[in-house]
Structures are given as structure tokens and as C-alpha cells.
């Protein structure tokens, strides 16, 4: 069960600000101002601009803030940590620490001693977790699998409550990297005929994954049931997605099978939708494989908050939980004219759509051909 949500997003800190802006179709994409990007092309991104304290471990700080909101939302503030776990997805994690060390080569101190798992360890210490602690590294599908892993820990009795999500930060390392792959654009236009590439984002999204009986005992409000998870490899290419979308389709089909649901039961698909030529075509193919001609509304929130990499899937889960609760599907910011090849998709564009969502499907794909999917059901 998901019993709480928290975010630090480019659209604002806190779920209410994030959701309101998402529904309004706003985009946080703008010229980078958080670090020197004068020599980078493109140089737009969706930065977290909320007033937050300077922190040598920016990604960890995002995660702490998001987790704190999620725990408060779940009514778990001050909960004892013996049966509490932490799992965060990230691609860059403590990259800020690493960049600084690379520059000065001075001894590393404090608890954040390793680039990748620093945020999860910091969060675990802060909340007093004594249960399992892990960092999932499935590139851009990292936090989707983090939430699946949390559900497994709960299912197999390894924890009663798990803080699960993802965090990533913007820095020169990653912007220059996606630029050199020629995968970026100044504006993200997911599923648009004129899409030119992705725009990076940053932030953290954390949900409280809780054992159903534990939630019932303490009278917690259940926001969504995590009904199924799936993961699959393309096994085709390291950076380019499988053009047939077979891997993504396998992950989605596995998640639906675990939930005991059929594709026709899905009311809404939160797509990975990065806005690159190949990703969106791959996903359209995967959705076509799975859904045939049946059209469930599809959107991508990456036009609004950019591609937050290791946090992307968790942001989608928070958005799906809101859609289940409100019956609103946010529009795909940046989408103007859908690609003619995607006529089989019911893309939500322009304004938010009022639509009853009982079953939401979120799908993520990443470098090295990794795919993960989650099915969420309204309680």
C-alpha cells in the first residue's frame, strides 16, 4: 500500500505545488542558472528553484525533504525504525560530493562516503531506519524498481514500512553527457512530431510503502495499492532502445499479470515519454503491442519537470496516486502536434482531462536496455 507521498520538484517543493502546476500544464524548463552552463548546448533544464539550504549532497537533501513530507503525509513522523526500510533509485546520487572531490582531491569526510548510495544511507540515518537499506541503479528506471523492491520487502515480511523513491541532481557532468550523445533539446516535446530530444530535470520523489495490516492497525489512509511490478531487459543495445519495444512491453505485461489485470483494465498510462525520437517511438510500439487498438489516456510529465533520471519513475508514481484520487490526468506539457505514427495512442495534451482512474500503469526505460513497470490501483 502507498500511504504517503512527498516531492521536491522543479515545479515546487511539496506535492500540492507539484500537482497543481502539473494539472495546469506548466513547464519548469528554463535556461540553467544553478551552475555555469555558458559553454553547454543545449543549456535548458528543469531545475529545483525552491529556496533550500546549500548542501554538499544536493541529491541527499532533496531526498530528505521529500521523505519528510511523505512521512508526515502518512502520519508516520517519529515512527520507530526497527521495521523501517529505505530504498532510493539514483543515477548520480552523491555526484556533487564526487565532483568536489575530483576538483580538490581532499579527504572525504562525514557519512556520505560513496557517490551512489550516499543519499539512501543519509536518509536511513536521519529517520533511524534499522530495516533493509538499498540503492537501486537501473538508470532511468531506478526509482520504479525501488518502489517494486519496497513492495517485495513488505510482501516477504522484511519491513513494515519502506521509504521508497528516487533522487537525482543536475550538474555539468550529466548535462554535458546527454549533450554529447546528442539526446537533448531546449524544449521537451514528448510524442510530438517535432520532438528533438530530452530536457534534464532534478529533484526527489518518495512514497511510503506500507504493509496493509500495519496501515490498517494504525488507521492510515491508503492512497493506492501497488498491485503489480514488472522488470525486463531489452537485451538489444546499450544506449538505443529496442525499436520493437519488446522489453518495455514485457515489463508492462509482467506487472499487469502480477496484478491479475488485463490491458483492457488500465485506465491511464503514465509513459516514460522522454521526448527523444527513439524512446517515444519505442514506447508507442510497446504500448501498441500491449494494448492493440484499445486506447487508454497516455501522458508524459517530462515536458513539465524534465527527465529526472533516477527520480523519474517515483515522480510518476506520485502523479499516478494523485490521478487515482482526483480523476484528473495532467496534460503532456510541450506536446503540440502528435507524431502521425502514434495515432493509436490517446495522448493527453493541452489541458488536464477529467477521467476516472481506477488502474494506473507507469512505465520506465533506461540505458543498458532496462525496463520497469508498476500497476497502481485505487483503494
Amino acid at each position: 500500500m502507498i500511504t504517503g507521498c512527498g516531492v521536491v520538484s522543479p515545479l515546487g517543493a511539496g506535492v500540492p505545488a507539484f500537482w497543481e502546476a502539473l494539472v495546469a500544464g506548466r513547464s519548469a524548463v528554463a535556461p540553467i542558472c544553478g551552475f555555469d552552463a555558458g559553454d553547454l548546448t543545449p543549456r535548458s533544464a528543469a531545475e529545483v528553484r525552491a529556496s533550500l539550504p546549500a548542501d554538499p549532497d544536493r541529491a541527499g537533501m532533496f531526498a530528505l525533504r521529500a521523505a519528510s513530507e511523505a512521512m508526515e503525509d502518512a502520519g508516520l513522523a517519529g515512527a520507530p525504525g526497527a521495521r523501517l526500510g529505505v530504498v532510493l533509485g539514483t543515477t548520480l546520487g552523491g555526484m556533487a560530493i564526487f565532483e568536489r572531490w575530483e576538483a580538490v582531491r581532499e579527504p572525504v569526510s562525514g557519512i556520505e562516503r560513496v557517490p551512489y548510495y550516499a543519499p539512501a544511507v543519509r536518509l536511513a540515518r536521519t529517520v533511524g531506519a534499522r530495516g533493509p537499506v538499498a540503492t537501486t541503479q537501473l538508470a532511468c528506471a531506478s526509482s520504479t524498481h525501488a518502489i517494486a523492491l519496497a513492495a517485495d520487502w513488505v510482501r516477504f515480511g522484511r519491513a513494515d514500512v519502506v521509504l521508497a523513491g528516487g533522487t537525482d541532481l543536475l550538474c555539468r557532468f550529466v548535462v554535458a553527457g546527454f549533450n554529447c550523445l546528442r539526446a537533448t533539446a531546449e524544449v521537451a516535446r514528448p510524442f510530438d512530431r517535432d520532438r528533438r530530444g530530452l530536457v534534464l530535470g532534478e529533484g526527489a520523489a518518495v512514497v511510503v510503502v506500507e504493509d496493509a495490516a500495519h496501515a490498517a492497525r494504525r488507521g492510515a489512509r491508503v492512497r493506492a495499492r501497488l498491485a503489480g511490478a514488472g522488470a525486463a531487459a531489452d537485451a538489444v543495445h546499450m544506449t538505443a532502445p529496442d525499436r520493437d519495444g519488446a522489453g518495455a512491453a514485457r515489463a508492462m505485461a509482467a506487472a499487469l499479470a502480477e496484478a491479475g489485470l488485463a490491458p483492457r483494465d488500465v485506465d491511464y498510462v503514465s509513459a516514460h515519454g522522454t521526448g527523444t525520437v527513439y524512446n517515444d517511438a519505442m514506447e508507442a510500439a510497446a504500448l501498441g503491442r500491449l494494448f492493440g487498438t484499445r486506447r487508454a489516456p497516455v501522458n508524459s510529465i517530462k515536458g513539465a519537470i524534465g527527465h529526472t533520471l533516477g527520480a523519474a519513475g517515483a515522480f510518476e508514481v506520485v502523479a499516478c496516486v494523485q490521478s487515482l484520487a482526483t480523476g484528473l490526468v495532467p496534460p503532456t506539457a510541450g506536446l503540440q502536434v502528435p507524431d502521425a505514427g502514434f495515432a493509436h495512442l490517446d495522448l493527453v495534451q493541452g489541458t488536464a482531462r477529467r477521467h476516472e482512474v481506477r488502474v494506473a500503469l507507469s512505465t520506465s526505460s533506461g540505458f543498458a536496455g532496462t525496463n520497469a513497470a508498476l500497476v497502481m490501483v485505487r483503494p
Binding site: 559553454d39 575530483e102 560513496v114 537501473l138 554529447c180 525486463a232 537485451a235 509482467a254 532496462t370
Partner: protein, 323 residues
């Protein structure tokens, strides 16, 4: 309760190539152009898959076969190499080839391509405890029915940049890092039986936890995690034939005390003596060595405590027909 998952193949790779387990030509071709963690993983997993009789390198991706890899430092060396180009030469020095490999799941992705693994492809980090955590997560994925066979274990590579980072206090283990990959093929018991696979061992139980105060006098989290792994396995401490524990020099005394408390006596042998700190590969390797050292049917415990406080324990039993 579903049947316990079984180990049907094992593979280990270190700094030197393993002449006894030559890899298929298509895999060797991939090996030449990949980063170091991937090379170690391809070598170890190739041996494990061959051992299990599952080393296919052709045909469509196998949807019920996958990989769960644990790594403490993952793509650290690639990140450092890529970052150096960017710092020294600006955006023109950003290498697309290196950047594409600045994800810790690169090794799992290469392995999936080489051996046609179309099922779950998962990479985890829990610091030095990553290898055992990966083994445990693989067991859960099998129990959840998400796969029939998974390559599972730990791998880390070392190089100049990582040595410098470790020397500057990053990691905090107190031992010099060394590189290795140690993996098994973990398989659903029924699936293994159906294809007549040889059972080397059974994974009976696992537990993971967090010890926030490793500087304290007692390591209650370590004691609790060992107890939880034994409870899940239904194995009494007195029935363990061997214990392989990794605590790193800085934590050795604390881990030994915790093991004494959890197990009631002091049979544990602590690793990290001489060979260097094998990071995520250390505990899976310790588990395999322990299994080899005990008679068929006997149970062993492997434990790893990372200086970060992340820890995991696995209880396994040597197969009755493995002699």
C-alpha cells in the same frame, strides 16, 4: 511457503583471466570493448551460466532469465574517466562512449545482451553488502514468480581513481580495495528440477538491515539481521557448519562480538586478510568458499557489514548430491 531457490551454477572472476573457463567468442568480442566491472561480470557470469547449463548466446531474449547484480562502486571508474575529459577540455572533452557507460547497470545490460537474458535486469547497491543483498533480492524475485533463473551476486573493479578515493577516506573500510566478481545462477527449484539441473546449494534464508551507530559498543542491528536470516531459514545457530563474515578491519571487533552474541559461540572466520577488500564480491565469494568447505547437506551463513552501516546475511545449505 514456496520452495527455496537453488544454486545451479557458480562463477568467480578476479584480476587474471580464467583459463579453465574460456568464454564463447561472441562474449570475448564484447569483453574487449567494455569497462572493467562489465569484464569481470561477463567472465564470472559466463562461467556460472556454463556451470548451470544455461549459457546460450544466440536466439531471442529469454524472458524468464535475468540478472540481479550488487556493486558498491559500480561505474565509479568510468565516471572518473569521463569527468576528467570534461574538466580538462570542457564540453568537447565529454566522451559519448564513456558517458554511455556512466551507469552502474552497464554490466547487467551487457550481460543481458551477451547471454540473451530478457527478464529482470536489476543492479543494486548497499555498499559492501551489495552482493548478499542482490542474492537475497534474486531469491525474492524468484519467490514472487518474476523469473525462473537469475544470475546473482556482487562485483567491483578497482583502479587508480578508486584507490585515491579510498585513500582519501571515501568508503571508510580501512582495507585496500581489490577487484572481483562472484556470482551464482539462482533458480526456482521447480524450474531447475524440470530441466534436470544439478543442485549445488539451496538458499534457505536472507535478511538485510542497517546499523546506524557502528562506532557504538554494541551492534544490535547486526545481531538482529543474523537472527532474522536464521529464523527465515529455520536453521539453529548451533547447526551452522561454517560462518563467513566480512566486517573490514575497522569493524572487525564489533562484528565478531555481534556474531558471538547472535550465534552463541565464536566459530566465525572474518575475511579481509591479505587479499584486500573485495567489496561487493567479498561475501558471495565467502559464501561459496564456506559451501565448498562443508559436507553435503550442511548449512552455512554469510554476513557482510559495510562501513556505511548497510548489512545483509544469507543462509545456504550445500546440496545433498553436490560432492
Amino acid at each position: 511457503m514456496s520452495e527455496r531457490p537453488v544454486i545451479t551454477g557458480v562463477g568467480v572472476a578476479g584480476p587474471e583471466p580464467d583459463a579453465a573457463h574460456p568464454l564463447p567468442g561472441v562474449v570475448r568480442a564484447r569483453l574487449a570493448r567494455t569497462e572493467r566491472v562489465t569484464q569481470l561480470v561477463l567472465a564470472a557470469a559466463g562461467a556460472a551460466l556454463a556451470d548451470a547449463g544455461l549459457a546460450d548466446t544466440t536466439g531471442p531474449p529469454r524472458p524468464r532469465c535475468g540478472v540481479v547484480l550488487g556493486t558498491a562502486f559500480g561505474c565509479f571508474l568510468t565516471n572518473a574517466a569521463y569527468q576528467r575529459g570534461l574538466v580538462e577540455r570542457g564540453p568537447a572533452g565529454a566522451s559519448p562512449r564513456l558517458f554511455a557507460a556512466t551507469v552502474s547497470n552497464a554490466a547487467a545490460g551487457e550481460l543481458a545482451i551477451a547471454y540473451r537474458l530478457g527478464g529482470p535486469s536489476v543492479t543494486l547497491s548497499a555498499g559492501a553488502a551489495s552482493g548478499l543483498l542482490a542474492l537475497g533480492h534474486a531469491a525474492d524475485l524468484l519467490a514472487a514468480g518474476r523469473a525462473d533463473a537469475l544470475v546473482a551476486g556482487g562485483a567491483d573493479a578497482v583502479g587508480e581513481d578508486l584507490a585515491a578515493w579510498a585513500a582519501d577516506g571515501g568508503f571508510g573500510g580501512g582495507a585496500v580495495p581489490a577487484e572481483a566478481a562472484a556470482v551464482v545462477v539462482l533458480e526456482d527449484a521447480q524450474a531447475a528440477r524440470a530441466r534436470g539441473a544439478r543442485v549445488l546449494a539451496t538458499v534457505e534464508g536472507y535478511a538485510a538491515g542497517f546499523e546506524p551507530a557502528l562506532g557504538a559498543a554494541r551492534a544490535d542491528g547486526v545481531v538482529a539481521t543474523v537472527a532474522a536470516a536464521l529464523a527465515e531459514a529455520g536453521v539453529r545457530a548451533a547447526d551452522l557448519a561454517a560462518v563467513a563474515a566480512w566486517g573490514r578491519p575497522r569493524l572487525a571487533a564489533l562484528v565478531r562480538a555481534a556474531l558471538d552474541e547472535a550465534l552463541g559461540d565464536a566459530r566465525a572466520t572474518l575475511g579481509a586478510d591479505g587479499a584486500g577488500d573485495l567489496l561487493a564480491a567479498a561475501a558471495p565469494l565467502g559464501l561459496l568458499s564456506a559451501l565448498r568447505a562443508v559436507p553435503p547437506g550442511a548449512a552455512v551463513l554469510a554476513l557482510d557489514v559495510c562501513p556505511s552501516g548497510q548489512l545483509a546475511a544469507v543462509v545456504a545449505r550445500r546440496g545433498k548430491e553436490d560432492a
